[in-house]
Symmetry: C2
Subunit: 151 residues, 2 copies
């Protein structure tokens, strides 16, 4: 099965794709991120089948990206919230938003704007070097074998 | 067709997924990024069928992520290189690498290490606010309607 295959690759990109590598999963995480947290809300927003959404939510909970939480006890009702791992995954979604805003939004401009709560400004995500803080692009780094390849 | 669907969504995440949203495309971009640039090399590295790789490369060239370039005239041979748009897409791959290294690498540790050419250090990507420079997580931003939604 393709899913197992990507997770087995010794590559952190492939392993991240194994968690959120078919198109629906990142959009489900996006929905939960922006406050669309209940099954029926997510289903209505994405136009996704009950079967596929059930499978995807189960998978994202198993992977520790989302947590299923009761928001009503009588009747018992659940919603989905981001775990810490899921909150960090949103950083990737924000980097995708910045790229899509720049390269795929066309004349209509960005669909949504992001306001950073801490600084209060409308902003976008930048991917920067953890050491020197410079913007990172593909041609700015060299790739070297890591522990999992040299072991 | 699913491809058209995601590209039609008024969402920069969905539109980015439309370009690189099935698992092979990001791994093809990854290969070209790290210097695996020829058809037969990519095919050997990924174990992907000729048909699928041909389709994916054609799509990524059409989308302006990769460029097909002759590296030999006699005999005529081509390789693939990143465009500027593709180089910026690698920033997302680096953010995925950082997340996968942290959350999916296990005890074996990171498969590869990234060395930033400018500062010379082994590094990882951080996703930061373009305004204040703080690290971004999902719960740090509010989403507001942008031009494409309010028009």
């Amino acid at each position: 099965m393709q899913r197992t295959r990507f997770g087995d690759m010794v590559c952190s990109i492939a392993r991240t794709l194994d968690v959120v590598g078919e198109p629906w999963s990142p959009l489900i995480v996006r929905d939960v991120w922006v406050g669309i947290t209940r099954f029926d809300q997510i289903q209505a927003d994405l136009g996704i089948s009950t079967k596929v959404l059930t499978e995807r939510l189960k998978w994202l909970v198993e992977q520790g990206v989302l947590e299923r939480r009761a928001y009503s006890l009588r009747p018992l009702r659940h919603e989905y919230v981001l775990t810490e791992k899921g909150g960090e995954l949103c950083a990737i979604l924000m980097a995708m938003t910045a790229w899509g805003d720049k390269h795929a939004a066309g004349d209509a401009g960005p669909p949504v704007l992001l306001r950073h709560r801490d600084c209060g400004q409308l902003t976008h995500a930048e991917v920067r070097c953890a050491c020197c803080g410079e913007l990172l692009r593909g041609d700015a780094v060299d790739v070297e074998p890591g522990p999992a390849l040299t072991a």
